[in-house]
């Protein structure tokens, strides 16, 4: 078990820098999810922690020890790959035992560990099969088993569920979470799926274009997104953004509607963010939407349209069933402390 410390970490391929000054402290036993769109550098960061990519500058510490120069096998980590990377010519048992065999553990100890892991993952009956004789979900379990038997200080996962079908993905997600809590091993998990990130992580590191946008708990990210990017990335359906002028706790929308905010003492142009689920139907509300399309989801209803009098797209999520025909106007209110304000230029959150 160990904490991980990333200090001013950068990664360049030739002249192109793909990760910029990453900082992050990961506590012992924590489950960290690195999330971001494809190509933002998530895998690269994870692979640097694993020792599969060199560090261009900065430092990685695991358990208080600098590991920049250590081989992957010397870092006491285990990794689960997206395509599982099981050795095709070895049985499940041999796959799991391979690393232990190299570390010259005794036969008895190897067997004990393999069988213990097989029991945890319920793959005991497949131990003598070859990977190609297993389904995707079973291979996924074997890949996890191979990580568990090593009894490492850190688990690293690179999009381990993205090759599974939707239902299995949800099930395995829960199992990974339970397993991690049970074993208490510090884990870093990479995904591009924000739902997966929100449900799995103790804390999320949101990456965008090689920069850390925000590093915090799922609730912090949802309640107080540090930037327009995070605000738009976390939450589904995505947050609505409308330019506005803010003046001491009141924001004026492009259609002159006025919304009160909790940001006193500030004036100037801003971008305000309104989550669809925070818009509450109210005939006297300030925000009016020309609804163009209605999406019935059962538990709630999504109203798609534009901010009345403008062409800014807006979505509202309303509890229960709402029958509305296209081309109708709906009014909403929003609590002042749920209005997010961002600087128009830097796209960073304005203090509160």
């Amino acid at each position: 078990m160990a904490d991980i410390k990333l200090t001013d970490l950068t990664k360049s391929y030739g002249p192109t820098e793909v990760l910029h000054h990453i900082e992050g402290d990961i506590n012992d036993g924590e489950f960290i999810v690195i999330v971001g769109p494809s190509g933002c550098g998530k895998s690269t960061l994870l692979r640097m922690v694993a020792g599969l990519e060199t560090v261009s500058s900065g430092e990685i510490q695991i358990g208080g020890k600098r590991v920049n120069e250590l081989e992957p096998s010397a870092r006491d980590i285990a990794m689960v790959f997206q395509n599982y990377a099981l050795y095709p010519h070895m049985s499940v048992r041999e796959n799991m035992a391979y690393g232990l065999k190299i570390r010259k553990l005794s036969k008895a100890e190897i067997n004990r560990r393999v069988e213990e892991a097989a029991d945890i993952l319920e793959i005991r009956e497949y131990l003598d099969r070859k990977p190609r004789q297993l389904s995707g979900g079973q291979r996924q379990r074997v890949a996890m088993g191979r990580a568990i038997v090593r009894d490492p200080q850190v688990f690293l996962f690179d999009e381990p569920l993205s090759n599974l079908d939707a239902k299995l993905r949800v099930q395995m997600r829960l199992e990974i979470r339970k397993l991690q809590q049970r074993l208490g091993v510090t884990s870093i998990y990479v995904t591009h799926d924000q739902v997966e990130a929100m449900t799995l992580g103790d804390r999320l590191m949101v990456l965008n274009g090689g920069y850390v946008e925000q590093f915090g708990t799922p609730i912090e990210l949802y309640d107080r997104p540090a930037s327009v990017f995070v605000a738009g990335f976390i939450g589904s359906p995505a947050m609505n953004f409308v330019p506005a002028t803010s003046d001491n706790g009141v924001a004026t929308l492009p259609n002159d509607a006025q919304v009160s905010t909790s940001l006193g003492g500030h004036s100037g142009s801003v971008l305000i963010g309104l989550r669809p689920e925070h818009l509450i139907p109210d005939d006297a509300g300030a925000i009016s939407i020309d609804v163009e399309m209605v999406e019935q989801l059962g538990a709630n209803t999504l109203l798609h349209g534009t901010l009345s009098g403008t062409d800014h797209a807006m979505v509202a999520s309303v509890a229960g069933h709402v029958t509305a025909d296209g081309d109708s106007q709906h009014r909403f209110r929003i609590a002042p402390d749920l209005v997010h304000l961002f600087d128009l230029q830097t796209e960073k959150r304005l203090a509160i």
């Binding site: 096998s73 990377a85 095709p88 190299i102």
Partner: protein, 283 residues
């Protein structure tokens, strides 16, 4: 194709049957000739059905001293020489190509691509082209009339290196990364992961190279002067020329028959792996 067109069917079958006859008839004639005695083989017309002399011919060919009037090594020794040469060439080629492909694919060293292209260019230099300088080198190294001399100059192989390079490139990177995390060093990865994954390709290549080695003619002819180093393919040619009197077809054909057996054995015993090795693509 599931269409049923009688004429097309007839033609395809005709072509197949003709093909089989073209290949099988000479073999049949060889076999028949190996079962008659010398006198019968000297008369026309040639027999088309087996006689009863196979056993005697085999004994005389394998353990005798060759054709009457010449002093050559017994054929069992030639078979052994050919087998040694073919095995040394095929196993040597496989070992060297595996290692060089491994170096080229998995190690970053200066002039890596230069090395690759240099190996590749040797494709244009088969032994026939460089036969004189190669002979010179082998002679200076004192390897004339030895198994080393027979096999070493034929061992370097660009084709096999290139093939293994392609095979290794299909192995996902994660396999190496996984092995690195498991603590396997480069040679361990090579032995434990890469070799088993290339098993079928190695088998396919072995079949091809074994036959290549077995059929070598020019090089052994050049490099061996001692009759005890004669290979079987050489000896068949020599037998045809050697006899002052009419050729002893029964002995020559028995030798030819014996020369066919090891390649056939290799092909048949490795057939399954051979086909897999040439067709299977995923690792």
């Amino acid at each position: 194709m599931v269409e049923n067109r009688p004429l097309a069917n007839f033609i395809t079958h005709l072509v197949l049957v003709l093909g089989v006859i073209a290949i099988a008839l000479p073999i049949w004639i060889t076999f028949v000739a190996a079962t008659h005695d010398e006198i019968r083989m000297a008369q026309a017309p040639l027999p088309l059905w087996p006689g009863n002399q196979l056993w005697i011919n085999l004994k005389q060919t394998l353990f005798g001293t060759g054709l009457s009037g010449t002093e050559t090594a017994p054929v069992w020794l030639m078979l052994f020489n050919s087998l040694s040469m073919a095995l040394m060439i095929s196993l040597g080629k496989i070992a060297i190509s595996l290692l060089s492909a491994f170096a080229i694919v998995y190690f970053k060293f200066p002039f890596r691509m230069t090395c690759f292209w240099m190996i590749f260019i040797t494709l244009m230099l088969p032994v026939e082209v460089r036969i004189l300088p190669t002979f010179e080198v082998v002679a200076n190294l004192g390897m004339l009339n030895s198994y080393w001399g027979l096999s070493i100059p034929l061992i370097a192989s660009a084709t096999a290196t290139f093939m293994f390079r392609q095979v290794f490139l299909t192995v996902p990177d994660e396999m190496l990364e996984s092995a690195r995390i498991d603590g396997a060093g480069p040679m361990r990865f090579f032995w434990d992961i890469l070799l088993p994954l290339s098993r079928t390709n190695i088998a396919a290549l072995f079949v091809i190279l074994f036959i290549f080695g077995w059929n070598q003619y020019l090089w052994p002819l050049l490099i061996t002067t001692d009759t005890s180093m004669t290979t079987i393919v050489m000896s068949i040619k020599q037998m045809l020329e050697a006899a002052e009197q009419s050729p002893q077809w029964n002995i020559i054909m028995t030798t030819a028959l014996l020369a066919m057996i090891p390649p056939i054995f290799v092909v048949i015993s490795m057939q399954k792996l051979f086909v897999q090795g040439l067709t299977e693509t995923d690792k």
